[in-house]
């Protein structure tokens, strides 16, 4: 099976004022379809940067990052935006729902970019909400939902376009353990039952245990080189 993400010699250097910070240093990585990969490491280890580059919201300084065989560096801003819409679903630590929109409308948001008609959109949103168990909360505004519910709405929003890749940045960081459990189970079933590739950044080892593969990063490098080649 071809890897869905192929990363070769990937480096990322930021300039913070006059200081050059190396966030990622010559990374090699293959991620395969329906992997549930967790990225771990201390803050500043480069795990979020790696996630951002794979998801097409940040760009590397050097090296290659191919997703589904497409070199993201070759896409311009607009093409990249379209690509993200079709292929990537995002889940954030602080949910990032639009406060003025209801749960239903938040999930519907990415579909506004597609050519789908209203009835089709409705069906897809409903399916996504059912998947996270929130079909009865469709009309609620984010502030009327609990944190765990908000994060599940965010997952529904990530799934509604049926992307191949789901990226999650500390999705359980703001949740109590019960809600965290629910969210992680959903993510797990996405990779296991729906065949999605899920990449999750976390620094909670219990959360990481839900994945089928874990990579540790430290100072922009893999901390245990062996794991990058393992399991594949």
């Amino acid at each position: 099976m071809n890897p869905i993400v192929e990363i070769r010699n990937l480096s990322k250097v930021y300039s913070q004022g006059e200081i050059q910070v190396t966030a990622l240093d010559d990374i090699h990585l293959d991620i395969h379809p329906s992997d549930f990969l967790t990225l771990m490491g201390p803050s500043g280890s480069g795990k979020s940067t790696l996630l951002h580059i794979i998801a097409g919201i940040d760009r590397q300084s050097s090296g290659i990052c191919k997703v589904q065989g497409i070199d993201l560096l070759g896409l311009n801003e607009s093409a990249l935006a379209d690509w993200r819409n079709q292929n990537v679903g995002f889940i954030f630590q602080s949910f990032n729902l639009i406060p003025v929109l209801s749960a239903f409308e938040n999930v519907e948001l990415p579909l506004l970019l597609t050519r789908l008609g209203r009835p089709e959109r409705r069906k897809l949103v409903q399916t996504a909400l059912e998947l996270v168990g929130l079909e009865d909360r469709a009309g609620h505004l984010p502030k009327q939902l609990s944190g765990g519910q908000e994060q599940r709405v965010a997952i529904a929003r990530a799934l509604v376009t049926d992307p191949a890749l789901v990226v999650a940045d500390e999705p359980t960081g703001n949740l109590d353990s019960e809600s965290a459990q629910q969210v992680l189970e959903i993510l797990q079933s996405l990779s296991r039952d729906a065949g999605k590739t899920v990449i999750m950044v976390t620094h909670d080892p219990r959360a990481a245990a839900f994945g089928n593969r874990t990579i540790h990063l430290e100072k922009g490098r893999f901390a245990e080189p062996s794991t990058s080649e393992a399991k594949a």
Partner: protein
């Protein structure tokens, strides 16, 4: 949900700010329209239907210098003159008022309606006026304003003449642009001042628009090198003469208007930027979800346009509505009469609002476009 509802929800998400922004645009455009209306009223006197044919003849020295009554025969004989009447401004005060709120003119009643054709009075009223030398014809606006009836007395204290008028109101007229004036017999004025030899001005009606310029020329040359040289000019030019006397006031009002528009721009751009800056994170998410730069820019633009156009509706529309209903004459002490908001003014107010909306959307919008998703996600407030 559609994109439009999304934009409207966004614009109104912070209702307080939306209200404040739209209101500050509204207040400024209200001010802008008000000043434009005032300026128009001061500098472009409204034109009567009969104005294109009418010619005002005054002493070349100035309006304050009288003309000899013997000029009438000369003017009458000039080819192209359809009618002519003496026309003397009295400037009297009514009912202890401290300034003149309506004009009074001494005219020749027999000739008056031939010169001021648009002043409509019933023939009954006209006949009564012509017959009685101590009577006057009063504009409908003045009748209503002071609650006067036909048969009442009209008492006026002279300020320019050392004489007071005591007349009977025998009729009303309407149909001119300014139905406020009072017209009375010139012979009555002559009697009071014991000076039958002079008049203030002559007002002439030309037979047609084609001959009017020729008539003006003939009247001017007829009295050249006499002791009372005249200045004959179209009614329009005559009124523009008053405008010219305003001097630099027009420039002043114009610069105030520009100052207001500039201030408005400044404030709205800053408000809009604040509104956008607060949502940087959210806009970053939209970007991550796959919205393109120009889609985000058009969201922001639509939002700021919506707010500024709302302001324009409230400000300019409100001005038009208010000025339609208030008694501006009473409020401004008789300085303004019509205070009419024209379509052109509404047009420019909306144009300003459009420009404002675009500029105040583009400035923060562009910084949103430039922002990288990663940076946007980092912003906390």
């Amino acid at each position: 949900m559609t994109t439009t509802t999304f934009i409207i929800r966004n614009a109104l998400r912070n209702k307080r700010r939306a209200f404040l922004s739209a209101m500050s645009v509204a207040v400024s455009l209200f001010l802008f329209v008000t000043l434009q209306v005032a300026l128009r009223e001061l500098t472009i006197p409204p034109e009567d239907i009969g104005a294109s044919l009418r010619i005002a003849v005054r002493n070349k020295v100035s309006l304050a210098q009288p003309l000899p009554v013997r000029q009438l025969q000369v003017i009458e004989k000039i080819p192209g003159v359809a009618a002519v009447t003496p026309f003397s401004y009295f400037g009297g005060l009514f009912r202890n008022e401290s300034f003149t709120t309506f004009a009074q003119f001494a005219v020749n009643p027999n000739r008056f309606t031939n010169v001021f054709v648009e002043a409509k009075a019933s023939s009954e009223h006209l006949q009564a006026w012509i017959k009685d030398r101590g009577s006057c014809l009063v504009g409908l606006d003045t009748m209503e304003r002071y609650d006067l009836k036909v048969g009442d007395r009209m008492l006026l204290t002279g300020t320019l003449y050392s004489a007071d008028l005591d007349m009977k109101i025998v009729g009303t007229y309407q149909g001119t642009l300014d139905d406020r004036s009072v017209f009375f017999h010139h012979t009555y004025l002559d009697e009071l001042t014991e000076d039958p030899g002079t008049v203030g001005t002559w007002w002439v009606r030309a037979a047609s628009a084609e001959v009017a310029p020729q008539v003006i020329q003939s009247i001017n040359s007829a009295f050249e090198n006499t002791s009372s040289e005249v200045r004959a000019e179209s009614e329009r030019a005559f009124q523009m003469g008053f405008v010219s006397m305003w001097g630099n006031i027009k420039m002043l009002i114009d610069s105030i208007c520009s100052a207001i528009v500039f201030t408005l721009l400044l404030v709205s751009v800053s408000t809009m930027s604040m509104a956008i800056r607060e949502r940087f994170r959210e806009l970053a998410i939209l970007k991550a979800i796959g919205f393109r730069r120009n889609e985000l820019l058009s969201f922001i633009l639509a939002e700021s346009l919506l707010l500024s156009l709302l302001g324009a509706v409230m400000g300019a529309g409100g001005a038009a509505w208010i000025f339609h209903y208030i008694d501006i004459q009473a409020l401004s002490g008789g300085m303004f009469v019509y205070f009419e908001v024209t379509e052109r003014m509404l047009g420019s107010a909306f144009l300003i609002a459009m420009v404002l909306g675009v500029l105040s959307g583009v400035v923060p919008g562009l910084s949103v476009c430039r922002m990288s998703v990663v940076d946007g996600l980092k912003t906390l407030d």
